[in-house]
Amino acid sequence: MESKMINHSVPTEYQSEQGKLNILGFWIFIAAEIILFATLFAVYGVLHTRTSDGPTGEEIFVIKDVVIQTMLLLTSSFTAGLVIHEMRRGNVRGLITWLIITLALGGGFLYMEINEFIHYVHAGAGIQTSAFTSSLLTLLGTHGAHVTLGIFWAIMVIIQLLQRGITPITASKVHIWGIYWHFLDVVWIFIFTFVYVGGLI
């Protein structure tokens, strides 16, 4: 617990010793998350042709909506980058503004995803229909649950930024949240490529 030394030559989030440990720890956590999603992808890869009496992917995917979802999430990743940029400039207001915009985009994504699920259920592709739908909805659902968590997490961070401004601690929280958000975006790109585009080819 060598803690308190503040090193001003590095970005704020790296200035406290604990902040540095947190960031490394979180990267390792992300490694574990990558394996978690890789496993879900593998499960989907094994089961996606096993549709039983239910519909296939081609029959239910609405590619236009998925493209919009992708745009929303990609843009939110870009704005999440601006969040860090504003933080490095020490601009709390800019930081919070971009954070809120990012969350709005994330919320839009979630809204579309919920609609997508409703559409699947109406199309006779509920989670209990077949191995294919079980694995599809679990993969999407796990990602969606992560996004939801990310949104609530960011709200907590925003409140703390309002209370305390940019300190080594709040900065490392923003930074870690940023890693998480970008990671979810990367996972989505894989989902888009392998599940939707791959499912239509």
Binding site: M1, E2, S3, K4, K20, L21, N22, L24, G25, I28, F29, A31, A32, E33, I35, L36, T39, L40, V43, V46, L47, R50, T51, S52, D53, G54, I127, Q128, T129, S130, A131, F132, S134, S135, T138, F152, W153, M156, V157, I159, Q160, I169
Partner: protein
């Protein structure tokens, strides 16, 4: 939501009724005792909420000992059942439940907590750190493991135990074939404990990467810390796979999905693959720290540097990589085909090479050493030949063609007990005897230790050696009984007698702990064994909560040995002492453990609305944590000086 009370409380079985009564009486006893002796506050503020890695380690070990008892009783019950042919002590269903809970508890709630506890105690000290990287997370890991264990054990008295084996193979473990809620306990309890384990893995990696004492390069790190690092790495890689497997299993059982079902496209072999993708690395997660313990003990009591340090490190790295590439050897017979089987045969047998290197290194460490036969060393010496039997029979099982002959027989059961008991349990014993004086300031008694050693060793070999031959004669595993005509009785009986010795050995250990607490000579010697080599022995005994007054500089492997060689008399310059920053205790992990336990309980019973509501208890805890800005506190210089003066003695005190 319909609550079927008759399904919840299990009635009518005398064994279970007896345990229910015993549990209630014990709980009442504990509550009354704590209240009578006014120990609630002490327990809460000094232990349950303590973020001190040594205390957390002790709590893990206490839990491990309790679970060893529970799992051991399960083992004894199975041995009693098969002691005579056509026995009716346990019926088939009950036997299924007993081997399932035995396997799960021994591996996940005995072996893992014991080793994580030992890591918690020894690793930060070995690398010269004042705590782990995330002390509060460390406590959370403990409470999640504990909550998982409690939920799992609850199955015995409410709801019914899981009964599909510790491997919980689908479709047997699915709703179609086991409609009760017993197997929900497996899915949910292991999930909760698994999250805790993953957090421990991350915590240990960051601790080792970032908090080593100045000068301690990775290649100067004590071997036990090395094995901790690699084990943690395997945890981070393998546990998320189990997380997913358990999630899908839960979904199948509770939400009617079709991952592993027979109907609607489900694929039961998918579970087998996911399970063993985690399961095989898991056995290396428990074996590697054990190897680390033996490495420390063998060097200390041979009074020589560990032979082949670099090759030891290479060996564990290679073992960890291979451990991910062998999972199919658990189901050669389930139809993956000869080509695949051959590949996995080769990877499996390849593991014998790095393991053999380690064996030879331990032997060479002892060669020409002045060996001292202390209790930890005895366990290490017993480990080598017995583990060798486990390893050789493992190579036999690894040959796919041969495996068709003895898979799923007691030959396999004998094999894995010959790896797990010498590999893990002996190592845990060695570690307990070895580090005990460092933590508590007195040794465990050597004479009673000999009783413990001989009873356990004789018992172990007597119990499990006959099982090899039972297996070769065709006794299948997981069979609750056999006929008289089978001619298996004599060996089964021999094995049952062995189990009595095993139980006596365990009793001797418990008695030893009790006796030593009361009567064993106290010591404040920083190096009670006299021949220790690593940093944990370079500070006071018992270790002060801040670990090191001044973090030592490291110039070589065996840092403490070097200090002794250089006649570094532990003179300490008081002017060098600065206030030490330490983390504060926290009640939040206890709360989180309780929240997970409650939510998990409702999920097991499939009361979804209640489970969803109690999930908010978990979120509330997370929010609380997010807003916590506790910077810990500083240990004042006077307190450190006072403490250091007492153990170093005035002569070693450079007053300036």
């Amino acid at each position: 939501m319909d609550i079927k009370w008759d399904k919840i409380l299990i009635t009518g079985d005398p064994l279970i009724l007896g345990s229910q009564i015993a549990i209630v009486l014990t709980m009442v006893g504990i509550v009354v005792g704590l209240t009578y002796f006014k120990k609630w506050k002490y327990l809460w503020s000094e232990w349950l909420t303590s973020v001190d890695h040594k205390r957390i380690g002790i709590m893990y070990i206490i839990m491990g000992v309790l679970m060893f008892f529970r799992g051991g009783v399960d083992g004894l019950m199975m041995k009693a059942q098969t002691a005579v042919p056509e026995n009716t002590f346990l019926d088939a269903q009950h036997y299924n439940e007993v081997f399932t809970t035995h396997g799960v508890i021994m591996i996940l709630f005995m072996a893992m907590p014991m080793l994580i506890g030992i890591i918690n105690i020894a690793m930060p000290l070995q690398i010269g750190a004042r705590d782990v990287a995330f002390p509060q997370l460390n406590l959370l890991s403990f409470w999640l493991t504990f909550a998982g264990a409690m939920l799992f054990n609850l199955s015995f008295v409410v709801g019914g135990s899981p009964d599909a084996g510790w491997t919980s193979y689908f479709p047997l473990a699915g709703k179609e074939f086991t409609p009760g809620i017993g197997n929900n306990f497996y899915m949910v309890a292991l999930q909760i404990a698994g999250i805790g384990t993953l957090m421990s893995g991350i915590n240990f990696i960051v601790t080792i990467m970032k908090m080593r004492a100045p000068g301690m390069k990775l290649m100067r790190m004590p071997m036990f810390s090395w094995t901790t690092l690699i084990t943690s790495l395997i945890i981070v890689i393998a546990f998320p796979i189990f997380t997913v497997a358990l999630l899908l299993g839960t979904m199948d059982r509770i939400f009617g999905t079709h991952f592993f079902t027979v109907a609607d496209g489900g694929l039961d072999m998918l579970w087998a693959n996911l399970f063993w993708l985690w399961g095989h690395p898991e056995v290396y997660i428990v074996i590697l720290p054990a190897f680390g313990i033996y490495s420390e003990v063998v060097a200390t009591f041979s009074k020589k540097r560990l032979y082949g340090y670099t090759s030891m490190v290479m060996a564990i790295v290679v073992i960890s990589a291979l451990s991910m590439l062998v999972w199919v050897h658990h189901f050669y017979t389930m139809g993956v085909g000869p080509a695949v089987n051959s590949v996995f045969s080769i990877t499996t047998m390849a593991i014998a090479v790095p393991t053999g290197i380690k064996m030879f290194n331990w032997l060479f460490t002892m060669r020409k050493g002045r060996i001292e036969f202390t209790a930890p060393m005895m366990w290490t010496l017993a480990f080598i030949p017995t583990f060798l039997i486990g390893g050789v029979t493992g190579v036999m099982l690894g040959m796919a063609a041969a495996d068709f002959q003895y898979h799923n027989t007691l030959f396999l059961v004998a094999h894995f007990h010959y790896t797990l008991i010498p590999g893990v349990v002996y190592a845990v014993f060695a570690a307990l005897y070895y580090w005990w004086p460092k933590v508590f300031g007195f040794k465990l008694n050597e004479r009673i230790g000999k009783w413990h050693f001989w009873l356990f060793n004789i018992g172990f070999n007597l119990t499990f050696f006959p099982m090899f031959f039972l297996g070769l004669q065709g006794a299948a595993r997981r069979m609750y009984t056999y006929s008289e005509e089978s001619g298996l009785w004599p060996l089964y009986a021999l094995s049952a007698v062995g189990a009595i010795f095993l139980a006596a050995g365990f009793a001797a250990l418990c008695y030893n702990i009790y006796w030593s607490i009361r009567y064993e000579k106290r010591t404040t010697e920083n190096d009670p064994w006299g021949t220790a080599r690593t940093l944990e022995w370079a500070t006071a005994t018992p270790v002060p909560h801040y670990n090191f007054a001044v973090v030592p500089e490291v110039t070589d492997v065996d840092a403490y040995w070097e200090m002794k060689k250089n006649k570094d008399n532990f003179a300490l310059d008081p002017n060098k002492i600065k206030p030490i920053h330490m983390p504060s205790n926290s009640g939040l992990p206890v709360y989180m453990g309780a929240a997970f336990l409650i939510a998990g309980f409702f999920l097991v019973f499939e009361w979804i609305p209640l489970a969803a509501i109690s999930a908010f208890l978990i979120f509330a805890g997370m929010i609380k944590r997010s807003f916590e800005y506790d910077d810990g506190y500083y240990v004042p210089v006077e307190e450190i000086i006072e403490k250091e003066r007492t153990w170093r003695g005035d002569s070693k005190w450079k007053a300036k």
